[in-house]
Subunit: 152 residues, 4 copies
Protein backbone atom coordinates (compact mmCIF):
# COMPACT_ATOMS: atom_id res chain seq x y z
CA UNK A 1 0.00 0.00 0.00
CA UNK A 2 1.06 3.51 -0.74
CA UNK A 3 1.60 6.11 1.92
CA UNK A 4 0.22 9.58 1.33
CA UNK A 5 3.38 10.99 -0.27
CA UNK A 6 3.49 8.06 -2.70
CA UNK A 7 -0.17 8.58 -3.42
CA UNK A 8 0.27 12.27 -4.15
CA UNK A 9 2.96 11.39 -6.68
CA UNK A 10 0.87 8.65 -8.28
CA UNK A 11 -2.14 10.92 -8.54
CA UNK A 12 -0.12 13.72 -10.04
CA UNK A 13 1.48 11.34 -12.59
CA UNK A 14 -1.91 10.00 -13.60
CA UNK A 15 -3.43 13.46 -13.97
CA UNK A 16 -0.44 14.57 -16.06
CA UNK A 17 -0.76 11.65 -18.43
CA UNK A 18 -4.52 11.98 -18.78
CA UNK A 19 -4.09 15.69 -19.52
CA UNK A 20 -2.04 14.67 -22.56
CA UNK A 21 -4.85 12.58 -24.06
CA UNK A 22 -6.28 14.48 -27.00
CA UNK A 23 -9.39 12.29 -27.05
CA UNK A 24 -10.13 13.04 -23.39
CA UNK A 25 -10.23 16.77 -24.14
CA UNK A 26 -12.14 16.28 -27.39
CA UNK A 27 -14.86 14.35 -25.58
CA UNK A 28 -14.70 16.82 -22.70
CA UNK A 29 -14.31 14.13 -20.05
CA UNK A 30 -13.12 14.77 -16.50
CA UNK A 31 -11.31 12.53 -14.03
CA UNK A 32 -13.05 12.76 -10.66
CA UNK A 33 -12.69 10.94 -7.32
CA UNK A 34 -9.30 9.40 -7.95
CA UNK A 35 -8.31 7.14 -5.05
CA UNK A 36 -6.20 4.00 -4.61
CA UNK A 37 -8.11 1.32 -6.49
CA UNK A 38 -10.87 3.48 -7.89
CA UNK A 39 -11.61 6.21 -10.41
CA UNK A 40 -14.60 8.09 -11.75
CA UNK A 41 -14.63 9.65 -15.23
CA UNK A 42 -17.56 11.81 -16.33
CA UNK A 43 -18.95 13.70 -19.30
CA UNK A 44 -21.56 16.39 -19.54
CA UNK A 45 -24.29 16.03 -22.12
CA UNK A 46 -23.54 17.85 -25.38
CA UNK A 47 -25.06 17.29 -28.85
CA UNK A 48 -21.72 16.07 -30.20
CA UNK A 49 -21.67 13.12 -27.77
CA UNK A 50 -25.10 11.75 -28.68
CA UNK A 51 -26.52 9.18 -31.07
CA UNK A 52 -29.51 9.73 -33.31
CA UNK A 53 -32.17 9.37 -30.59
CA UNK A 54 -30.57 11.87 -28.24
CA UNK A 55 -28.97 9.36 -25.86
CA UNK A 56 -25.27 9.38 -25.02
CA UNK A 57 -23.56 7.38 -27.77
CA UNK A 58 -22.53 3.82 -26.85
CA UNK A 59 -19.05 4.61 -28.11
CA UNK A 60 -18.81 7.43 -25.59
CA UNK A 61 -19.92 5.10 -22.81
CA UNK A 62 -17.25 2.63 -23.97
CA UNK A 63 -14.66 5.41 -23.78
CA UNK A 64 -15.69 6.18 -20.18
CA UNK A 65 -15.34 2.48 -19.32
CA UNK A 66 -11.97 2.16 -21.04
CA UNK A 67 -10.46 5.19 -19.33
CA UNK A 68 -11.95 4.72 -15.87
CA UNK A 69 -10.87 1.08 -15.55
CA UNK A 70 -7.38 1.74 -16.86
CA UNK A 71 -6.90 4.71 -14.55
CA UNK A 72 -8.25 2.73 -11.57
CA UNK A 73 -5.61 0.08 -12.33
CA UNK A 74 -2.94 2.79 -12.61
CA UNK A 75 -3.68 3.98 -9.07
CA UNK A 76 -2.19 0.74 -7.76
CA UNK A 77 1.08 0.73 -9.68
CA UNK A 78 4.47 0.54 -8.07
CA UNK A 79 7.40 2.65 -9.32
CA UNK A 80 8.60 1.54 -12.74
CA UNK A 81 5.27 0.01 -13.73
CA UNK A 82 2.83 1.17 -16.39
CA UNK A 83 -0.64 0.04 -17.44
CA UNK A 84 -2.06 -0.92 -20.81
CA UNK A 85 -5.71 -1.91 -21.38
CA UNK A 86 -5.80 -5.57 -22.45
CA UNK A 87 -9.53 -5.98 -22.95
CA UNK A 88 -12.94 -5.11 -21.62
CA UNK A 89 -16.51 -6.28 -21.93
CA UNK A 90 -19.37 -3.87 -21.64
CA UNK A 91 -23.12 -4.45 -21.23
CA UNK A 92 -25.52 -1.63 -22.06
CA UNK A 93 -28.46 -1.70 -19.65
CA UNK A 94 -30.53 1.39 -20.39
CA UNK A 95 -30.41 4.56 -22.51
CA UNK A 96 -28.31 7.37 -21.00
CA UNK A 97 -30.48 10.47 -21.16
CA UNK A 98 -28.88 12.42 -18.31
CA UNK A 99 -27.13 15.77 -18.27
CA UNK A 100 -24.15 14.07 -16.71
CA UNK A 101 -22.95 10.49 -17.21
CA UNK A 102 -20.09 8.94 -15.29
CA UNK A 103 -18.24 5.63 -15.07
CA UNK A 104 -17.15 4.56 -11.61
CA UNK A 105 -14.39 1.94 -11.81
CA UNK A 106 -13.00 -0.19 -9.04
CA UNK A 107 -10.11 -2.68 -8.97
CA UNK A 108 -11.36 -6.15 -8.10
CA UNK A 109 -7.98 -7.85 -8.15
CA UNK A 110 -4.68 -6.04 -8.49
CA UNK A 111 -1.91 -8.17 -9.96
CA UNK A 112 1.77 -8.16 -10.69
CA UNK A 113 1.19 -8.51 -14.46
CA UNK A 114 -2.57 -8.13 -14.77
CA UNK A 115 -5.24 -6.19 -12.89
CA UNK A 116 -8.97 -6.83 -13.12
CA UNK A 117 -11.43 -3.97 -12.65
CA UNK A 118 -15.17 -3.43 -12.93
CA UNK A 119 -17.01 -0.26 -13.89
CA UNK A 120 -20.60 0.83 -13.51
CA UNK A 121 -21.86 3.69 -15.67
CA UNK A 122 -24.53 5.98 -14.28
CA UNK A 123 -26.68 8.61 -15.94
CA UNK A 124 -27.82 11.40 -13.63
CA UNK A 125 -31.48 12.03 -14.45
CA UNK A 126 -33.67 14.30 -12.31
CA UNK A 127 -31.07 14.09 -9.58
CA UNK A 128 -31.09 10.30 -9.52
CA UNK A 129 -28.21 8.03 -10.54
CA UNK A 130 -29.52 5.46 -13.01
CA UNK A 131 -27.31 2.49 -13.89
CA UNK A 132 -26.94 2.47 -17.69
CA UNK A 133 -24.01 0.12 -18.31
CA UNK A 134 -21.69 -2.28 -16.51
CA UNK A 135 -18.28 -3.57 -17.53
CA UNK A 136 -15.48 -5.97 -16.65
CA UNK A 137 -11.92 -5.18 -17.74
CA UNK A 138 -8.42 -6.63 -17.75
CA UNK A 139 -5.47 -4.25 -17.60
CA UNK A 140 -1.89 -5.33 -18.30
CA UNK A 141 0.70 -4.20 -15.83
CA UNK A 142 4.04 -3.72 -17.54
CA UNK A 143 7.29 -3.42 -15.62
CA UNK A 144 9.65 -1.05 -17.36
CA UNK A 145 13.36 -1.80 -17.72
CA UNK A 146 15.28 0.20 -15.11
CA UNK A 147 16.07 3.64 -16.47
CA UNK A 148 13.17 3.80 -18.89
CA UNK A 149 10.81 6.75 -18.67
CA UNK A 150 7.55 5.28 -17.47
CA UNK A 151 4.31 5.99 -19.22
CA UNK A 152 1.07 4.23 -19.95
CA UNK B 1 -32.25 -12.18 -48.18
CA UNK B 2 -33.01 -8.76 -49.47
CA UNK B 3 -33.36 -7.94 -53.14
CA UNK B 4 -31.53 -4.92 -54.47
CA UNK B 5 -34.44 -2.49 -54.02
CA UNK B 6 -34.82 -3.59 -50.39
CA UNK B 7 -31.10 -3.22 -49.92
CA UNK B 8 -31.04 0.30 -51.35
CA UNK B 9 -33.74 1.27 -48.84
CA UNK B 10 -31.95 -0.40 -45.92
CA UNK B 11 -28.66 1.26 -46.85
CA UNK B 12 -30.28 4.66 -47.17
CA UNK B 13 -32.08 4.27 -43.81
CA UNK B 14 -28.84 3.29 -42.11
CA UNK B 15 -26.89 6.18 -43.62
CA UNK B 16 -29.65 8.60 -42.60
CA UNK B 17 -29.59 7.44 -39.01
CA UNK B 18 -25.82 7.45 -38.76
CA UNK B 19 -25.77 10.96 -40.19
CA UNK B 20 -27.81 12.05 -37.15
CA UNK B 21 -25.23 10.77 -34.66
CA UNK B 22 -23.48 13.79 -33.17
CA UNK B 23 -20.66 11.61 -31.83
CA UNK B 24 -19.96 10.14 -35.28
CA UNK B 25 -19.39 13.63 -36.69
CA UNK B 26 -17.45 14.76 -33.61
CA UNK B 27 -15.03 11.85 -33.98
CA UNK B 28 -15.00 12.34 -37.76
CA UNK B 29 -15.81 8.72 -38.51
CA UNK B 30 -17.05 7.45 -41.87
CA UNK B 31 -19.18 4.47 -42.78
CA UNK B 32 -17.55 2.62 -45.67
CA UNK B 33 -18.25 -0.65 -47.48
CA UNK B 34 -21.77 -1.20 -46.23
CA UNK B 35 -23.15 -4.53 -47.46
CA UNK B 36 -25.64 -7.11 -46.19
CA UNK B 37 -24.01 -8.55 -43.06
CA UNK B 38 -20.95 -6.31 -42.98
CA UNK B 39 -19.80 -2.78 -42.35
CA UNK B 40 -16.55 -0.86 -42.14
CA UNK B 41 -16.20 2.34 -40.08
CA UNK B 42 -12.99 4.37 -40.23
CA UNK B 43 -11.29 7.37 -38.72
CA UNK B 44 -8.37 9.44 -39.91
CA UNK B 45 -5.61 10.21 -37.45
CA UNK B 46 -6.01 13.60 -35.74
CA UNK B 47 -4.45 14.83 -32.49
CA UNK B 48 -7.85 14.95 -30.80
CA UNK B 49 -8.35 11.19 -31.23
CA UNK B 50 -5.08 10.14 -29.61
CA UNK B 51 -3.90 9.14 -26.16
CA UNK B 52 -0.78 10.46 -24.45
CA UNK B 53 1.71 8.36 -26.44
CA UNK B 54 0.36 9.33 -29.83
CA UNK B 55 -1.62 6.14 -30.51
CA UNK B 56 -5.33 6.16 -31.35
CA UNK B 57 -7.19 6.21 -28.02
CA UNK B 58 -8.67 2.88 -26.90
CA UNK B 59 -11.96 4.65 -26.38
CA UNK B 60 -11.95 5.66 -30.04
CA UNK B 61 -11.24 2.06 -31.06
CA UNK B 62 -14.15 0.97 -28.85
CA UNK B 63 -16.39 3.49 -30.61
CA UNK B 64 -15.41 2.03 -34.00
CA UNK B 65 -16.24 -1.46 -32.72
CA UNK B 66 -19.57 -0.37 -31.23
CA UNK B 67 -20.75 1.38 -34.38
CA UNK B 68 -19.45 -1.07 -36.96
CA UNK B 69 -20.97 -4.13 -35.27
CA UNK B 70 -24.32 -2.45 -34.67
CA UNK B 71 -24.51 -1.19 -38.24
CA UNK B 72 -23.51 -4.62 -39.59
CA UNK B 73 -26.43 -6.07 -37.61
CA UNK B 74 -28.73 -3.34 -38.95
CA UNK B 75 -27.98 -4.38 -42.53
CA UNK B 76 -29.89 -7.61 -41.91
CA UNK B 77 -33.08 -6.16 -40.42
CA UNK B 78 -36.52 -6.77 -41.80
CA UNK B 79 -39.13 -3.99 -42.01
CA UNK B 80 -40.34 -2.89 -38.58
CA UNK B 81 -37.17 -4.03 -36.79
CA UNK B 82 -34.53 -1.92 -35.11
CA UNK B 83 -31.18 -2.68 -33.48
CA UNK B 84 -29.75 -1.83 -30.09
CA UNK B 85 -26.25 -2.79 -28.93
CA UNK B 86 -26.56 -5.25 -26.04
CA UNK B 87 -22.89 -5.78 -25.25
CA UNK B 88 -19.45 -6.22 -26.73
CA UNK B 89 -16.04 -7.44 -25.69
CA UNK B 90 -12.92 -5.94 -27.15
CA UNK B 91 -9.28 -7.11 -27.03
CA UNK B 92 -6.53 -4.62 -27.78
CA UNK B 93 -3.70 -6.34 -29.67
CA UNK B 94 -1.24 -3.63 -30.67
CA UNK B 95 -0.91 0.16 -30.64
CA UNK B 96 -2.71 1.92 -33.51
CA UNK B 97 -0.17 4.32 -34.99
CA UNK B 98 -1.61 4.57 -38.51
CA UNK B 99 -2.96 7.55 -40.44
CA UNK B 100 -6.20 5.63 -40.91
CA UNK B 101 -7.77 3.10 -38.59
CA UNK B 102 -10.88 1.13 -39.44
CA UNK B 103 -13.12 -1.53 -37.89
CA UNK B 104 -14.45 -4.18 -40.23
CA UNK B 105 -17.50 -5.88 -38.73
CA UNK B 106 -19.25 -9.01 -39.94
CA UNK B 107 -22.41 -10.74 -38.73
CA UNK B 108 -21.63 -14.25 -37.51
CA UNK B 109 -25.19 -15.22 -36.67
CA UNK B 110 -28.24 -13.13 -37.49
CA UNK B 111 -31.19 -13.74 -35.21
CA UNK B 112 -34.82 -12.87 -34.74
CA UNK B 113 -34.15 -11.18 -31.38
CA UNK B 114 -30.36 -11.14 -31.18
CA UNK B 115 -27.55 -10.91 -33.72
CA UNK B 116 -23.91 -11.77 -33.04
CA UNK B 117 -21.14 -9.97 -34.91
CA UNK B 118 -17.35 -9.82 -34.84
CA UNK B 119 -15.10 -6.90 -35.70
CA UNK B 120 -11.43 -6.64 -36.48
CA UNK B 121 -9.75 -3.26 -36.19
CA UNK B 122 -6.86 -2.43 -38.51
CA UNK B 123 -4.35 0.38 -38.49
CA UNK B 124 -2.97 1.29 -41.89
CA UNK B 125 0.76 1.83 -41.44
CA UNK B 126 3.13 2.27 -44.39
CA UNK B 127 0.43 0.92 -46.66
CA UNK B 128 0.01 -2.27 -44.62
CA UNK B 129 -3.08 -3.22 -42.63
CA UNK B 130 -2.03 -4.17 -39.11
CA UNK B 131 -4.56 -5.90 -36.83
CA UNK B 132 -4.77 -3.78 -33.65
CA UNK B 133 -7.95 -5.04 -31.95
CA UNK B 134 -10.61 -7.72 -32.22
CA UNK B 135 -14.12 -7.81 -30.79
CA UNK B 136 -17.22 -9.95 -30.32
CA UNK B 137 -20.61 -8.25 -29.97
CA UNK B 138 -24.27 -9.03 -29.30
CA UNK B 139 -26.90 -6.76 -30.82
CA UNK B 140 -30.56 -6.83 -29.79
CA UNK B 141 -33.09 -6.92 -32.58
CA UNK B 142 -36.28 -5.19 -31.54
CA UNK B 143 -39.54 -5.59 -33.43
CA UNK B 144 -41.55 -2.41 -33.33
CA UNK B 145 -45.29 -2.39 -32.79
CA UNK B 146 -47.06 -1.92 -36.11
CA UNK B 147 -47.38 1.77 -36.92
CA UNK B 148 -44.37 2.87 -34.86
CA UNK B 149 -41.69 4.89 -36.59
CA UNK B 150 -38.65 2.62 -36.65
CA UNK B 151 -35.30 3.80 -35.45
CA UNK B 152 -32.25 2.35 -33.78
CA UNK C 1 -42.55 -8.90 -8.02
CA UNK C 2 -43.74 -12.36 -7.23
CA UNK C 3 -45.83 -13.18 -4.19
CA UNK C 4 -44.82 -16.19 -2.12
CA UNK C 5 -47.11 -18.66 -3.91
CA UNK C 6 -45.72 -17.58 -7.28
CA UNK C 7 -42.21 -17.88 -5.93
CA UNK C 8 -42.79 -21.39 -4.61
CA UNK C 9 -43.94 -22.42 -8.10
CA UNK C 10 -41.00 -20.70 -9.81
CA UNK C 11 -38.53 -22.31 -7.43
CA UNK C 12 -40.05 -25.72 -7.89
CA UNK C 13 -40.00 -25.36 -11.70
CA UNK C 14 -36.37 -24.32 -11.65
CA UNK C 15 -35.32 -27.16 -9.37
CA UNK C 16 -37.21 -29.66 -11.57
CA UNK C 17 -35.47 -28.48 -14.70
CA UNK C 18 -32.04 -28.39 -13.11
CA UNK C 19 -32.61 -31.93 -11.82
CA UNK C 20 -32.93 -33.04 -15.45
CA UNK C 21 -29.48 -31.72 -16.42
CA UNK C 22 -27.19 -34.69 -16.85
CA UNK C 23 -24.11 -32.45 -16.69
CA UNK C 24 -25.18 -30.97 -13.34
CA UNK C 25 -25.28 -34.47 -11.80
CA UNK C 26 -22.08 -35.53 -13.57
CA UNK C 27 -20.20 -32.59 -12.09
CA UNK C 28 -21.96 -33.10 -8.77
CA UNK C 29 -23.11 -29.48 -8.51
CA UNK C 30 -25.83 -28.25 -6.17
CA UNK C 31 -28.21 -25.30 -6.42
CA UNK C 32 -28.18 -23.43 -3.12
CA UNK C 33 -29.73 -20.18 -1.90
CA UNK C 34 -32.25 -19.72 -4.66
CA UNK C 35 -34.10 -16.41 -4.25
CA UNK C 36 -35.73 -13.88 -6.56
CA UNK C 37 -32.82 -12.41 -8.53
CA UNK C 38 -30.06 -14.56 -7.13
CA UNK C 39 -28.67 -18.08 -7.13
CA UNK C 40 -25.68 -19.95 -5.74
CA UNK C 41 -24.33 -23.12 -7.36
CA UNK C 42 -21.56 -25.10 -5.68
CA UNK C 43 -19.26 -28.07 -6.17
CA UNK C 44 -17.24 -30.07 -3.71
CA UNK C 45 -13.63 -30.77 -4.56
CA UNK C 46 -13.10 -34.17 -6.22
CA UNK C 47 -10.14 -35.37 -8.32
CA UNK C 48 -12.31 -35.55 -11.44
CA UNK C 49 -13.03 -31.80 -11.32
CA UNK C 50 -9.40 -30.67 -11.19
CA UNK C 51 -6.73 -29.65 -13.66
CA UNK C 52 -3.14 -30.91 -13.63
CA UNK C 53 -1.93 -28.77 -10.69
CA UNK C 54 -4.74 -29.77 -8.36
CA UNK C 55 -6.87 -26.62 -8.74
CA UNK C 56 -10.52 -26.70 -9.78
CA UNK C 57 -10.56 -26.79 -13.59
CA UNK C 58 -11.37 -23.49 -15.30
CA UNK C 59 -14.00 -25.32 -17.33
CA UNK C 60 -15.72 -26.32 -14.11
CA UNK C 61 -15.65 -22.71 -12.89
CA UNK C 62 -17.16 -21.68 -16.24
CA UNK C 63 -19.92 -24.24 -15.76
CA UNK C 64 -20.72 -22.76 -12.32
CA UNK C 65 -20.90 -19.30 -13.85
CA UNK C 66 -23.08 -20.44 -16.75
CA UNK C 67 -25.60 -22.22 -14.56
CA UNK C 68 -25.75 -19.76 -11.66
CA UNK C 69 -26.31 -16.73 -13.90
CA UNK C 70 -28.93 -18.46 -16.03
CA UNK C 71 -30.80 -19.73 -12.98
CA UNK C 72 -30.64 -16.30 -11.32
CA UNK C 73 -32.28 -14.89 -14.47
CA UNK C 74 -34.89 -17.67 -14.38
CA UNK C 75 -35.97 -16.63 -10.88
CA UNK C 76 -37.40 -13.43 -12.37
CA UNK C 77 -39.44 -14.93 -15.20
CA UNK C 78 -43.14 -14.38 -15.64
CA UNK C 79 -45.48 -17.20 -16.69
CA UNK C 80 -44.87 -18.32 -20.27
CA UNK C 81 -41.26 -17.11 -20.34
CA UNK C 82 -38.09 -19.17 -20.52
CA UNK C 83 -34.38 -18.33 -20.35
CA UNK C 84 -31.50 -19.15 -22.64
CA UNK C 85 -27.89 -18.12 -21.99
CA UNK C 86 -26.83 -15.67 -24.68
CA UNK C 87 -23.24 -15.07 -23.61
CA UNK C 88 -20.93 -14.59 -20.67
CA UNK C 89 -17.45 -13.31 -19.95
CA UNK C 90 -15.39 -14.75 -17.16
CA UNK C 91 -12.18 -13.51 -15.53
CA UNK C 92 -10.07 -15.95 -13.53
CA UNK C 93 -8.52 -14.18 -10.53
CA UNK C 94 -6.79 -16.86 -8.45
CA UNK C 95 -6.42 -20.65 -8.31
CA UNK C 96 -9.35 -22.46 -6.66
CA UNK C 97 -7.79 -24.80 -4.13
CA UNK C 98 -10.74 -25.10 -1.73
CA UNK C 99 -12.79 -28.10 -0.67
CA UNK C 100 -15.88 -26.25 -1.81
CA UNK C 101 -16.22 -23.73 -4.62
CA UNK C 102 -19.37 -21.80 -5.38
CA UNK C 103 -20.66 -19.20 -7.83
CA UNK C 104 -22.99 -16.58 -6.43
CA UNK C 105 -24.99 -14.93 -9.21
CA UNK C 106 -27.15 -11.84 -9.01
CA UNK C 107 -29.37 -10.15 -11.58
CA UNK C 108 -28.16 -6.62 -12.30
CA UNK C 109 -30.90 -5.71 -14.75
CA UNK C 110 -33.92 -7.86 -15.47
CA UNK C 111 -35.43 -7.30 -18.89
CA UNK C 112 -38.38 -8.24 -21.06
CA UNK C 113 -36.16 -9.87 -23.67
CA UNK C 114 -32.73 -9.84 -22.03
CA UNK C 115 -31.48 -10.05 -18.45
CA UNK C 116 -27.97 -9.13 -17.30
CA UNK C 117 -26.41 -10.91 -14.33
CA UNK C 118 -23.04 -10.97 -12.58
CA UNK C 119 -21.43 -13.86 -10.73
CA UNK C 120 -18.58 -14.06 -8.27
CA UNK C 121 -16.90 -17.40 -7.70
CA UNK C 122 -15.47 -18.17 -4.28
CA UNK C 123 -13.20 -20.96 -3.09
CA UNK C 124 -13.61 -21.84 0.57
CA UNK C 125 -10.10 -22.29 1.97
CA UNK C 126 -9.43 -22.70 5.68
CA UNK C 127 -12.91 -21.44 6.38
CA UNK C 128 -12.39 -18.25 4.39
CA UNK C 129 -14.15 -17.33 1.15
CA UNK C 130 -11.55 -16.36 -1.45
CA UNK C 131 -12.69 -14.67 -4.67
CA UNK C 132 -11.33 -16.78 -7.56
CA UNK C 133 -13.33 -15.58 -10.56
CA UNK C 134 -15.84 -12.95 -11.62
CA UNK C 135 -18.24 -12.92 -14.55
CA UNK C 136 -20.76 -10.83 -16.46
CA UNK C 137 -23.54 -12.60 -18.40
CA UNK C 138 -26.44 -11.86 -20.74
CA UNK C 139 -29.45 -14.17 -20.66
CA UNK C 140 -32.16 -14.16 -23.32
CA UNK C 141 -35.71 -14.13 -22.09
CA UNK C 142 -37.98 -15.93 -24.53
CA UNK C 143 -41.75 -15.59 -24.44
CA UNK C 144 -43.40 -18.82 -25.47
CA UNK C 145 -46.41 -18.88 -27.77
CA UNK C 146 -49.56 -19.42 -25.70
CA UNK C 147 -50.15 -23.13 -25.13
CA UNK C 148 -46.50 -24.15 -25.49
CA UNK C 149 -44.92 -26.14 -22.66
CA UNK C 150 -42.35 -23.81 -21.18
CA UNK C 151 -38.79 -24.90 -20.62
CA UNK C 152 -35.33 -23.46 -20.64
CA UNK D 1 8.90 -20.35 -34.90
CA UNK D 2 9.67 -23.78 -33.65
CA UNK D 3 11.50 -26.38 -35.69
CA UNK D 4 10.06 -29.88 -35.80
CA UNK D 5 12.10 -31.25 -32.88
CA UNK D 6 10.98 -28.34 -30.70
CA UNK D 7 7.42 -28.91 -31.80
CA UNK D 8 7.53 -32.62 -30.95
CA UNK D 9 8.67 -31.69 -27.44
CA UNK D 10 6.02 -28.99 -27.05
CA UNK D 11 3.28 -31.30 -28.26
CA UNK D 12 4.39 -34.08 -25.96
CA UNK D 13 4.54 -31.69 -22.96
CA UNK D 14 1.04 -30.40 -23.70
CA UNK D 15 -0.41 -33.87 -24.09
CA UNK D 16 1.24 -34.97 -20.82
CA UNK D 17 -0.24 -32.07 -18.90
CA UNK D 18 -3.70 -32.46 -20.40
CA UNK D 19 -3.61 -36.16 -19.52
CA UNK D 20 -3.27 -35.15 -15.87
CA UNK D 21 -6.50 -33.11 -15.92
CA UNK D 22 -9.13 -35.04 -14.01
CA UNK D 23 -11.91 -32.90 -15.47
CA UNK D 24 -10.79 -33.64 -19.04
CA UNK D 25 -11.17 -37.39 -18.41
CA UNK D 26 -14.40 -36.92 -16.48
CA UNK D 27 -15.96 -35.04 -19.39
CA UNK D 28 -14.39 -37.50 -21.82
CA UNK D 29 -12.83 -34.79 -23.96
CA UNK D 30 -10.07 -35.38 -26.50
CA UNK D 31 -7.35 -33.09 -27.82
CA UNK D 32 -7.26 -33.35 -31.61
CA UNK D 33 -5.38 -31.54 -34.36
CA UNK D 34 -2.73 -29.93 -32.21
CA UNK D 35 -0.51 -27.64 -34.29
CA UNK D 36 1.51 -24.47 -33.68
CA UNK D 37 -1.12 -21.83 -32.95
CA UNK D 38 -4.18 -24.05 -33.03
CA UNK D 39 -5.97 -26.80 -31.17
CA UNK D 40 -9.22 -28.73 -31.42
CA UNK D 41 -10.88 -30.31 -28.37
CA UNK D 42 -13.94 -32.52 -28.78
CA UNK D 43 -16.55 -34.43 -26.85
CA UNK D 44 -18.90 -37.18 -27.88
CA UNK D 45 -22.55 -36.87 -26.92
CA UNK D 46 -23.40 -38.71 -23.70
CA UNK D 47 -26.41 -38.18 -21.39
CA UNK D 48 -24.16 -36.89 -18.62
CA UNK D 49 -23.01 -33.94 -20.74
CA UNK D 50 -26.48 -32.63 -21.59
CA UNK D 51 -28.93 -30.10 -20.20
CA UNK D 52 -32.63 -30.75 -19.66
CA UNK D 53 -33.66 -30.43 -23.31
CA UNK D 54 -31.07 -32.88 -24.60
CA UNK D 55 -28.59 -30.31 -25.93
CA UNK D 56 -24.94 -30.26 -24.89
CA UNK D 57 -24.77 -28.24 -21.66
CA UNK D 58 -23.50 -24.68 -22.00
CA UNK D 59 -21.04 -25.41 -19.21
CA UNK D 60 -19.57 -28.21 -21.30
CA UNK D 61 -19.24 -25.87 -24.29
CA UNK D 62 -17.50 -23.38 -22.00
CA UNK D 63 -15.08 -26.10 -20.90
CA UNK D 64 -14.24 -26.86 -24.56
CA UNK D 65 -13.59 -23.16 -25.15
CA UNK D 66 -11.46 -22.80 -22.03
CA UNK D 67 -9.26 -25.79 -22.81
CA UNK D 68 -8.92 -25.34 -26.55
CA UNK D 69 -7.91 -21.67 -26.33
CA UNK D 70 -5.44 -22.27 -23.51
CA UNK D 71 -3.86 -25.22 -25.29
CA UNK D 72 -3.66 -23.26 -28.55
CA UNK D 73 -1.74 -20.57 -26.65
CA UNK D 74 0.50 -23.23 -25.10
CA UNK D 75 1.57 -24.42 -28.55
CA UNK D 76 3.45 -21.14 -29.02
CA UNK D 77 5.39 -21.08 -25.75
CA UNK D 78 9.13 -20.81 -25.54
CA UNK D 79 11.16 -22.86 -23.04
CA UNK D 80 10.54 -21.76 -19.46
CA UNK D 81 7.12 -20.31 -20.19
CA UNK D 82 3.72 -21.52 -19.03
CA UNK D 83 0.14 -20.47 -19.76
CA UNK D 84 -2.75 -19.54 -17.51
CA UNK D 85 -6.22 -18.61 -18.75
CA UNK D 86 -6.88 -14.98 -17.87
CA UNK D 87 -10.41 -14.61 -19.21
CA UNK D 88 -12.72 -15.54 -22.02
CA UNK D 89 -16.05 -14.44 -23.47
CA UNK D 90 -18.38 -16.92 -25.09
CA UNK D 91 -21.47 -16.39 -27.24
CA UNK D 92 -23.92 -19.24 -27.66
CA UNK D 93 -25.35 -19.22 -31.19
CA UNK D 94 -27.47 -22.37 -31.53
CA UNK D 95 -28.31 -25.53 -29.59
CA UNK D 96 -25.70 -28.30 -29.88
CA UNK D 97 -27.62 -31.44 -30.76
CA UNK D 98 -24.84 -33.36 -32.51
CA UNK D 99 -23.17 -36.66 -31.66
CA UNK D 100 -19.86 -34.88 -31.61
CA UNK D 101 -19.12 -31.30 -30.62
CA UNK D 102 -15.72 -29.68 -30.93
CA UNK D 103 -14.04 -26.35 -30.26
CA UNK D 104 -11.45 -25.23 -32.78
CA UNK D 105 -9.16 -22.58 -31.28
CA UNK D 106 -6.66 -20.41 -33.07
CA UNK D 107 -4.15 -17.88 -31.76
CA UNK D 108 -4.90 -14.41 -33.14
CA UNK D 109 -1.98 -12.65 -31.48
CA UNK D 110 0.79 -14.42 -29.58
CA UNK D 111 2.48 -12.26 -26.98
CA UNK D 112 5.36 -12.19 -24.56
CA UNK D 113 3.04 -11.87 -21.55
CA UNK D 114 -0.40 -12.31 -23.06
CA UNK D 115 -1.81 -14.29 -25.99
CA UNK D 116 -5.20 -13.73 -27.58
CA UNK D 117 -7.08 -16.63 -29.15
CA UNK D 118 -10.49 -17.23 -30.70
CA UNK D 119 -12.50 -20.43 -30.73
CA UNK D 120 -15.45 -21.59 -32.78
CA UNK D 121 -17.54 -24.47 -31.48
CA UNK D 122 -19.19 -26.80 -33.98
CA UNK D 123 -21.81 -29.48 -33.55
CA UNK D 124 -21.65 -32.26 -36.10
CA UNK D 125 -25.23 -32.98 -37.14
CA UNK D 126 -26.10 -35.29 -40.06
CA UNK D 127 -22.51 -35.04 -41.20
CA UNK D 128 -22.57 -31.22 -41.28
CA UNK D 129 -20.59 -28.92 -39.02
CA UNK D 130 -22.97 -26.37 -37.49
CA UNK D 131 -21.50 -23.35 -35.67
CA UNK D 132 -23.01 -23.36 -32.16
CA UNK D 133 -20.77 -20.96 -30.22
CA UNK D 134 -17.92 -18.51 -30.69
CA UNK D 135 -15.42 -17.17 -28.17
CA UNK D 136 -12.59 -14.71 -27.62
CA UNK D 137 -9.98 -15.46 -24.94
CA UNK D 138 -6.93 -13.92 -23.26
CA UNK D 139 -4.24 -16.26 -21.96
CA UNK D 140 -1.45 -15.13 -19.64
CA UNK D 141 2.03 -16.20 -20.56
CA UNK D 142 4.15 -16.64 -17.46
CA UNK D 143 7.92 -16.86 -17.58
CA UNK D 144 9.20 -19.16 -14.90
CA UNK D 145 12.25 -18.32 -12.81
CA UNK D 146 15.25 -20.26 -14.15
CA UNK D 147 15.36 -23.72 -12.59
CA UNK D 148 11.63 -23.94 -11.90
CA UNK D 149 9.72 -26.93 -13.24
CA UNK D 150 7.39 -25.51 -15.88
CA UNK D 151 3.72 -26.30 -15.84
CA UNK D 152 0.46 -24.69 -16.80
Amino acid sequence: MQNSADWALIESNIRDRVAKQGFMAHVGALVEDLAPGSCTVSVTRRPELLQQLGFLHGGCIAFLVDNSTTIAAATMLRPGQAVLTAEFKLNFLAPARGDRVFARARVVKPGRTMTVAVADVFSVEDGEEKLVATALATISVVTMPAGAAGDD
